[in-house]
């Protein structure tokens, strides 16, 4: 029973290995959805591509860096300003993207000259920018453009610039997860240790796997400031390119998103001996726990407890107001991977919400081990879901609200089920104490939105008023 073949999947029976329905007394050793595996032909996958994982998720967040995308304009357009990660310098990373705009003749005759010209143009047009990440895409990887050689020539011609190349075309992996991996490993191998950061505190850390979605980084930074901890690099929320070159000097790596950035924390541990601390930075209970662990590591427990007490006094009454109104609500989480395990117990413990279905687009089996350990019995756990599965599961579990992206969200709205943007947030930030109150507010406004009751009403069932033509 626990691995499930949905009715809609009868013609693609391989999907049974990807869908788990947790039953009472299941032994955790016996069931684990297959994950990070190729999408089965015939399924309407929701996944993003490997290039997207590198550019849109991680590299594109940097606030002082030219994002040069060597490929057709669509690869740049589709990963441009669709994710809400602001910065404190005017949101350069949201406003701009650069592309070599490859056309058919360029594919036939090669794109290296066009790339070199575009790189010089970009630096000339914005002379205050001295850092660049260069990404390959499917066509430019397939024709074999030697982007590292081009990068070398540009850096020789411009000694004051630094360029990082990410050779991760869309087809390189089964999902965007491959892009996370390539960027992480490339960065630690080529760029970490090439700059010495200025150390301003005896307590230093990197905060890894937070992308400043609607200001998450800004909010958490208040806590680190209160504790006197210097964050050498945020990987990569509101970060500068050179911040990330100095990651080797931190005494501790704190990891939030272990899927997109666990690799760099592992490599920093292996190469520099920096310990890796995994925390959950969504939810009251979890955030307090994370602060306690960080404070204990640095021996500043009293400061940590004072901060937690102050934040609880400020925000807990507000959270409890929402909890009283959300208790028992049924929630589905259809996001990328880690938010499943970050959120399922957080909303249950802090808000009394029951998570009844979860799906992951790019999670690995490690993510499913975590979420099944934390999730409820009777809940669906789905890897690489498709639209028909969404419909069938909705019918089975009848969620009150779904946390997902706008693409799927607009779909479920047509079924008169409210959604909250689980990727870019509705009205974030959602991390930390204040952030979780924001999440609770958005969930409350979705669950209790009167418009959905009106929309669900079938007006055809009521007597039709006959309209008379004006004379």
């Amino acid at each position: 029973m626990p691995m499930v073949l949905l009715r809609c999947d009868k013609d693609i029976p391989e999907r049974e290995k990807h869908i788990y329905l947790k039953a009472p007394d299941d032994d955790p050793k016996d069931f684990l959805p297959l994950a990070n595996s190729p999408t089965i032909p015939g399924t309407l996958s929701e996944r993003g591509c490997a290039f997207c994982g590198a550019k849109l998720v991680i590299g594109g967040v940097l606030k002082d860096t030219i994002q040069m995308i060597h490929g057709p304009i669509g690869c740049a357009y589709d990963t441009w300003h669709t994710k809400r990660y602001p910065s404190d310098n005017g949101n350069l990373q949201i406003k701009y993207v650069w592309s070599t705009d490859m056309k058919e003749p360029d594919i036939v005759f090669g794109g290296e000259k066009k790339l070199e010209k575009a790189m010089h143009e970009a630096f000339d047009e914005m002379p205050h920018l001295k850092r660049m990440i260069l990404y390959t895409t499917c066509p430019t990887a397939l024709i074999g453009d030697d982007v590292k050689a081009v990068t070398k020539r540009v850096m020789e011609a411009r000694p004051d610039v630094d360029i990082f190349t990410v050779e991760c075309p869309g087809f390189a992996g089964v999902s965007q997860s491959k892009g996370h991996h390539v960027l992480n490993i490339g960065w630690v191998n080529e760029k970490v240790g090439t700059i010495e950061p200025e150390i301003t505190s005896e307590y230093t850390m990197n905060f890894i796997g937070d992308y400043n979605i609607q200001g998450d980084t800004f909010l958490l930074q208040q806590y680190w400031d209160a504790l006197g901890i210097q964050v050498i690099a945020h990987f990569t929320g509101n970060a500068n390119y050179d911040d990330l070159r100095g990651m080797h000097r931190a005494k501790l790596n704190v990891v939030n998103c272990a899927r997109s950035a666990g690799y760099i924390a592992n490599e920093l541990k292996r190469k520099y001996g920096t310990p890796r601390l995994d925390i959950d930075s969504w939810g009251f209970n979890y955030t307090a726990e994370g602060i306690r662990k960080i404070s204990t590591f640095f021996g500043i427990e009293e400061k940590g407890e004072a901060l937690i007490a102050s934040e609880y006094a400020k925000w807990k009454p507000k959270l409890d107001w929402y909890k009283a109104r959300l208790k028992g609500a049924k929630m589905a989480i259809w996001t990328g991977g880690p938010r499943l395990w970050h959120w399922t117990k957080a909303v249950e413990d802090d808000l009394g919400v029951e998570v009844v279905a979860m799906s992951s687009k790019f999670g690995h089996e490690e993510d499913f081990e975590k979420v099944i350990a934390r999730g409820r019995e009777g809940t669906y756990y789905v890897n690489d879901p498709n639209e028909l599965e969404f419909f069938e599961i909705i019918n089975a579990i009848k969620p009150d609200v779904i946390f997902t992206g706008p693409r799927v969200g607009e779909l479920v709205k047509k079924l008169h089920i409210p959604y909250v943007n689980g990727h870019g947030y509705h009205n974030g930030p959602y991390m930390g104490f204040e952030g979780f109150v924001n999440l609770a507010r958005d969930m409350h406004n979705a669950v209790h939105n009167p418009l959905f009751n009106l929309a669900r009403t079938d007006v055809r069932a009521t007597p039709v008023v006959e309209l008379k033509e004006a004379v």
């Binding site: 684990l32 990070n36 005494k251 501790l252 920096t274 310990p275 995994d278 204990t296 089996e365 350990a373």
Partner: protein, 113 residues
């Protein structure tokens, strides 16, 4: 008072602790042994003096867990030091079995991250 059952303590640790689910088997082993070893010292009032950053990390994880277990399982106090260590050794074996030796995670033994 009765001592808390292994199943109950394991259930809580499995749900709560991310350190058991690191990317690779060797990281999981290091974390499980390090955190639960430090936890045993804390719960038996044995002095803990971390001498490396990794040991400080184990202390950070173990101290939070020790407080949570004391609050959640007050009957832990009915165990003497040998009883606590025996319980935690059984816990270590169970966590190792589920998270490493019998895990269905295909990536645990890959050589690179």
């Amino acid at each position: 008072m009765t001592a808390p059952a292994l199943d109950e303590v394991y259930g809580y640790v499995q749900e709560r602790c991310l350190w058991q689910f690191s990317s690779r088997a060797w990281d999981r082993t290091e974390n499980i042994d390090g955190v639960l070893g430090t936890l045993a010292d804390l719960l038996t009032n044995t002095p803990v003096n971390p001498s490396s950053p990794t040991e400080r990390l184990f202390l950070a994880d173990a101290r939070v867990l020790a407080d949570q277990l004391r609050e959640r399982f007050p009957d832990l106090g009915s165990l003497d030091a040998a009883g606590v260590r025996a319980l935690l050794e059984s816990l270590r074996e169970r966590v190792t079995q589920v998270a490493i030796t019998q895990s269905r995670n295909h990536e645990l033994h890959e050589k690179a991250y």
